[in-house]
């Protein structure tokens, strides 16, 4: 199987530079990184990809059994690193991909040199003694939201930037390319994402780790960021001024600077 085609892998930046692999979160695709990657292109080899079922990935590669939990996705990340023969990989994962990154780094600690977790949550649903921010009912509500938007999917997801002169930065190549997703897969990925509990995996992380926590993030609240920080020995927690769940879009400069500072540490 061609891993690079399967995951729609795009490589840019300085070919001989230290590699950074950016893993997108649930609900979007590799395009969400477009505002932070320019900051690293000069010195790093940039690797972007889409999880199977999303964006430009090969939908036929979707295997419900393999992707029944996050390990299947973590294996894909490692596949990509091997296919590109990367070493000393900096793995940047947003949201659910933060946990996918954790799993990948624990599977092959020799391959991953640093982890950057953007808005991580090891468990979204409240558990005894743990605040995840959501109840099981909330998650069912989300899954039914996905169903509701099924009919409106094309309108919701199709970019309507044509004739949108005030956003020239978004070039024509973006037309119809954002966050396309197969509704069935999206529903399953949503379930896997929001019902996973990877708290026990955090302690196994041995590589230097940066946690980027947004202010007022309802998906991954500050207590969750603190929990992750405490569970991963030696990790660094940086709370961004940015609000919401996608600082790389809402505050790309601040996000890129935090990552760069972390990478500069030796």
């Amino acid at each position: 199987m061609d891993v690079l085609a399967r995951n729609n892998v795009r490589v840019s930046g300085r070919p001989e530079g230290p590699p950074i692999v950016f893993a997108h979160g649930y609900g979007c695709d590799q395009n969400m990184w477009r505002l932070v990657t320019p900051a690293f292109e000069a010195n790093h080899r940039i690797v972007l990809f889409d999880h199977v079922g999303v964006g430009g990935s090969d939908l036929t590669a979707y295997d419900a059994e393999k992707y029944a939990d996050l390990h299947g996705y973590a294996d894909d990340v490692l596949d990509i690193c091997h296919a590109l023969e990367l070493t000393d990989v900096v793995l940047v994962g947003h949201s659910v991909s933060a946990m996918i990154g954790v799993l990948a780094a624990t599977k092959e600690p020799a391959l991953v040199s640093r982890l950057v977790l953007v808005g991580p949550s090891p468990c979204y649903i409240d558990q005894p003694g743990y605040t995840g921010g959501f109840s099981a009912t909330d998650i069912e509500d989300l899954l039914s939201s996905l169903d509701s938007n099924y009919l409106g999917w094309s309108t919701a997801m199709a970019p309507v930037i044509m004739g949108n002169p005030d956003r020239p930065a978004l070039g024509e190549e973006l037309t119809n390319s954002f966050c396309r997703t197969d509704p069935t897969i999206a529903r399953r990925f949503g379930r896997v994402t929001f019902t996973s509990d990877n708290r026990a995996d955090l302690a196994a992380v041995t590589v230097p780790t940066l946690i980027l926590q947004c202010s007022e993030d309802v998906i991954a609240p500050a207590v969750v960021g603190t929990y992750v920080h405490e569970a991963i020995a030696g990790s660094t927690l940086v709370t961004l001024a940015a609000t919401g769940h996608v600082p790389h879009l809402s505050a790309p400069g601040e996000t890129a600077a935090a990552i760069a500072a972390f990478l500069a540490e030796r």
Binding site: D138, L142, N149, L151, D166, G244, V246, S250
Partner: protein, 702 residues
């Protein structure tokens, strides 16, 4: 409307309205037919219009600067907004027609469609997000219907396919147990129930009026549920109702919650009920499918029930015929074996039989009626009885087959049956036999040499001599041979020798050889051992019958004494010689000789006292460690003149003082009076020479 009160030109009206709108842009904003909001880039609400405020119940000052838009959404919508809408909005500047629910101030949900547009300055820096909100209650209801229809269509296709598979399984289910299992399994696999359990109505004989499904509990609820199920209705009981109404069924189903009762119906009767726990298909399609399943399962149950019943009857019938008492004669050993076909689906029509035609002639038969099941078993029973009755006419095997030809004319199910029939004279070993389309019997002599009896053959019953009713006499051939003492004659059905892809001659020869090599094995378990050897896994495709008769398996002394003292002393001399020849000497010799003489004398003196020289038959056989003697007369029994005192206790059948002595000499003695008198006795001998303690012959005076 004013336009109606005072007609003016259309043009004038339009101009007036345009002016009015121009005048009240503020009003248009506040009271537009949609909700308007603006938020800062970080999501905090900057402004809302009155429409939005009215719809949601939130006063503007409770929202502006206080809340972020996503907070007003349901939990799912909030996640959706953060994971999908917000990134898209930031990337493409606009997101439209997002379906979500606003949670109003009093906690109600308001389905809305929302459009978002990012408003940026000339340097592409976000300034605000403009949001329009449309009431989508109606539309959402319609969409929900569409989604539901789609879901139903998908579900129906899935379920239909699954039900088809279940129906195919049901058609192939051989018995009630299999049908029950399939139905219970599909409750979970097809209908998504947590569990399913089948309860059958109390056994209903075919054609009997329906009886109630056995449900217990409070009479009203359980009664009405049972009545509805009985009438063919799918009944749903909600949670607690189910537990209260049908505690037994409820307890049989794991978990708690709603119970659906599906009648399993055939011929307008409810044969049982499938109870499902959980939420199986509460929609109309699901109910229809459950009803279809119930009908299919009911019919399968009915089929299986009939077939179970028939099988049961046929098995019982056959069993009863194969377990009748077989003849017991010292000159004769018998071993029989019946093995049903491997699949157990159908009882076959094989049988064996052995009976005495007269005191010295035993008849044996193995037969095979065409077909399987109840009809074959019944035909077999009729044929077997007919054969027993006709054999007593004593015309021999050929004539017997002729008569059976005529018999099967009236019993078509027995037509084309095959059988082998033989009559053995126990005095001489003469064997008369005939074979109607049946594999040949095998004789194995005492040295283990097998011989196939290929003579006396003719076609299966009813297949020839259709006109034999003219009474032209025996036309079926028979053959005669002589069995030597110690020989074994084996009759069997074709199930033992029929093998796929192998000629019958070959397998029959193989069987003969096998019988020869194992001739020395104990007779009792012999046929079973042979069947085990031949049949793979102990059973074949067809049922198998085996009958072996051993002729004079043990050394035998047989003489008939005519009632005179002289012939008694001749018998004594012969018996003494025979005993010594077989190493019965000393005490054993004397005891047997004395006992035998005493009994024979008794027979002559008492049995034939009024007739003189009636025959008395003496038969002695020798088995390891035991001498068996049978003395039989055909005289009339007379009570003895009982002496005032006697050595033995009361003995109603005592023919004289002699019997007390006989009892003392022999280990065991029995006396039977039928036509004449038969005295059967034996004496254990094995350890007489060793002089071991406790080795005295039982019953000897101490």
């Amino acid at each position: 409307m004013s336009a109606q009160e005072e007609p003016r030109s259309d043009l004038t009206v339009r101009q007036d309205e345009a002016v009015r709108l121009e005048d009240s842009a503020e009003d248009l904003y506040e009271n537009a037919p949609c909700g308007y909001l603006s938020t800062y880039p970080d999501g905090r609400i900057a402004r809302v219009n009155a429409t939005f405020s009215t719809w949601t119940g939130w006063a503007p000052d409770e929202l502006v600067g206080q809340r972020i838009f996503a907070e007003l959404l349901s939990a799912g919508g909030r996640i959706y907004y953060q994971t999908h809408v917000d990134p898209l909005l930031r990337m493409q500047g606009e997101v439209r027609a997002i379906a979500c629910d606003l949670v109003t101030r009093d906690g109600h949900r308001l389905p809305v469609l929302v459009n978002f547009r990012l408003h940026s300055d000339s340097t592409d820096r976000p300034l605000a997000v403009r949001i329009t909100v449309f009431d989508a209650s109606q539309r959402r209801a319609y969409e929900d219907e569409l989604l539901e229809a789609r879901r139903r269509a998908e579900l129906a296709v899935t379920r239909l396919g699954a039900v088809e598979a279940v129906v195919a399984d049901l058609a192939a289910a051989p018995g009630m147990a299999e049908v029950t299992e399939i139905v219970q399994r599909c409750a979970t696999t097809v209908f998504g129930a947590v569990a399913g359990v089948v309860r059958l109505a109390p056994t209903v004989p075919a054609g009997a009026p329906a009886r109630p499904v056995d449900v217990s509990g409070p009479r009203d609820t359980a009664g009405s549920a049972a009545a509805r199920v009985r009438a063919g209705e799918v009944v749903r009981l909600i949670g607690a109702d189910a537990a209260a109404a049908l505690p037994d069924l409820d307890a049989a189903l794991p978990g708690q919650g709603d119970v659906t009762l599906v009648p399993l119906r055939a011929l307008e009767r409810t044969l049982g009920v499938l109870a499902l726990r959980g939420p199986p298909a509460s929609d109309e399609d699901g109910t229809r499918l459950l009803q279809t399943l119930g009908r299919q399962a009911g019919q399968a149950l009915e089929r299986a029930r009939l077939s179970d019943e028939q099988r049961q009857v046929a098995t019982t019938l056959q069993h009863s015929m194969l377990t009748t008492e077989l003849p017991d004669d010292p000159r004769l050993g018998l071993s029989t074996c019946y093995r049903p076909a491997g699949d157990l689906l159908q009882v076959g029509g094989d049988w064996y039989d052995a009976f005495l035609l007269d005191p010295d002639t035993v008849a044996v038969v193995v037969g095979d009626v065409v077909g399987r099941g109840l009809h074959a078993a019944a035909a077999m029973g009729q044929l077997r009885s007919a054969l027993r009755a006709l054999a007593t006419l004593g015309d021999g095997p050929g004539a017997l087959l002729d008569r059976l030809d005529r018999f099967v004319d009236g019993v078509p199910a027995a037509s084309m049956a095959t059988l082998v029939y033989a009559e053995l004279d126990l005095r001489t070993g003469e064997l008369r036999y005939a074979c109607a389309g049946h594999p040949p019997p095998v004789v194995v002599d005492v040295a283990g040499r097998p011989t196939l009896l290929w003579d006396g053959r003719s076609a299966p019953l009813g297949a020839m001599f259709r006109s034999a009713s003219d009474g032209a006499g025996a036309t079926r051939p028979e053959a005669t041979t002589t069995l030597h003492p110690g020989s074994r004659l084996t009759l069997y059905s074709d199930g033992l020798v029929e093998q796929r892809d192998r000629p019958l001659d070959e397998t029959i020869a193989e069987l003969a050889e096998l019988l020869g090599t194992r001739a020395q094995e104990p007779l009792e378990s012999w046929t079973a051992a042979i069947a085990d050897h031949v049949l793979v896994d102990g059973a074949g495709d067809d049922d198998v019958c085996l009958l072996t008769i051993a002729f004079a398996p043990d050394p035998t002394f047989a003489v008939t004494v005519r009632g005179s003292r002289a012939s008694v002393s001749g018998m004594r001399a012969d018996l003494s010689h025979w005993l010594q020849t077989h190493d019965i000497i000393g005490e054993d010799h004397d005891a047997v000789l004395l006992a035998c003489s005493e009994v024979v004398s008794n027979s002559i003196e008492h049995g034939y006292a009024d007739r003189g020289d009636g025959p008395v038959e003496v038969l002695a056989t020798l088995q390891p460690d035991v001498v068996r003697v049978r003395v039989r007369d055909h005289g009339r029994w007379r009570p003895a003149t009982r002496p005032a005192t006697g050595p033995a206790g009361p003995e109603p059948s005592d023919r004289g003082r002699g019997l007390a002595l006989v009892r003392a000499l022999m280990s065991e003695v029995s006396v039977e009076h039928e036509v004449g008198t038969v005295v059967t006795m034996h004496r254990r001998t094995g350890c007489r020479a060793a002089g071991l303690p406790g080795c005295r012959a039982d019953g000897l005076p101490g």
